[in-house]
Subunit: 218 residues, 2 copies
């Protein structure tokens, strides 16, 4: 599936030039992020809850405690919205009006389905763990039966999804370019700092290369 | 107002020890972030849209194009959820199950009200701009009448809000501490990189100190 034709619900309405329906661009955004915001409705009230996720082919995986209200609500087959937002830079224009953010976001609409099969669930948890930090699944203890039972894993199909992206310098009004204000981008990319070993770490265990070399994005 | 007694809707249900209802802690999180995710419902379908915000006393301000579907929906007085999430560190536990994220999030429930009075709207835009990048309002062109008319500003009261926070090292099972896996935190704080001047910047305009010294958080 190379492109998602926009549905009436996922078509980007404001600034349609920023709308993107190409699956490769949608996937690149999803693969760079690791926290999504899940929207669902309880008694007419929308809730928006942050949670980890991973893309696996044509689906997005989420997981959490089997006691989570969010996941128990989603298991009822309600409509959800999963949004991923990456912020790349503050955009400082000469006019207050044209200040903006360079960002890349994906909005996915659909219903989440629980992953009940034991092997499928383990597979989902492996993908989630390795999306969170590549190579980690093979360097930690896998879930035991009690933990598996306490965990709900769900998938949302990537059938109704769109991206919205702003890139590039400020877009000022022609007559404003002569104003004496600094204008440009202030990049705010994700970065990592020095790993902090657990105070209870067994002496002699070095920081793994996949932690030292960790970076999101390309 | 020093504390928000949790309503039944904002009481943190999963891991209640992570729930925080103290306004000073809620405010600190809101003041550090600058992008929120707004949840609203259209025809039963939840939507979650990222947008800039600023806290001003007991309210959160958002703004955008008067043509925005989100803002036009909110102007109808529907229930909204505004969520702000700061991610501080990846938490690498010895077991896959206890992997986590150190994060600080705020969930606000309520209804948004438009700010229609001209001076109040300008005041809101000033607060939003200076939250986005301190000192900027006095160093850019303020909105003209056409831009003011094209902009909708709204406020959401901070009456029903809660925070959820995870801090500290991994929490492994007692019997797992002897496992030979590295465990600890991988900090992922917001950082800024070297400002990128607009290609059309008038020569001789230096990068302002408030851009060079920009940082979020404390």
């Amino acid at each position: 599936m190379a492109t998602n034709a926009p549905s009436n619900r996922t078509r980007v309405k404001r600034l349609p030039a920023r709308g993107i329906y190409d699956r490769s661009e949608i996937d690149a955004i999803l693969d760079e992020g690791f926290v999504c915001h899940v929207g669902f409705v309880v008694d007419g009230q929308p809730f928006v809850i942050p949670t980890g996720y991973a893309r696996d082919g044509d689906r997005v995986l989420i997981h959490g405690s089997a006691a989570s209200r969010m996941l128990r609500t989603l298991e009822n087959g309600v409509d959800v919205c999963v949004t991923v937002t990456l912020t790349d830079a503050l955009v400082l224009a000469r006019s207050a009006f044209h200040h903006s953010v360079n960002y890349r976001s994906v909005v996915i609409l659909g219903k989440a389905a629980p992953i009940n099969d034991r092997e499928d669930k383990i597979d989902a948890l492996r993908i989630l763990t390795n999306h969170f930090i590549p190579s980690r699944w093979d360097d930690c203890r896998p879930p035991n039966e009690v933990e598996l039972k306490a965990t709900t894993a769900m998938e949302i199909p990537l059938t109704e999804a769109s991206a919205k992206v702003r890139t590039g310098p400020p877009g000022d009004e022609d007559e404003d370019y002569a104003l004496p204000y600094w204008a440009g981008l202030l990049p705010i990319p994700p970065t990592t700092q020095t790993p902090i070993p657990d105070p209870r770490l067994t002496p002699g265990i070095d920081i793994p290369d996949y932690v030292k070399g960790y970076r999101r994005g390309k």
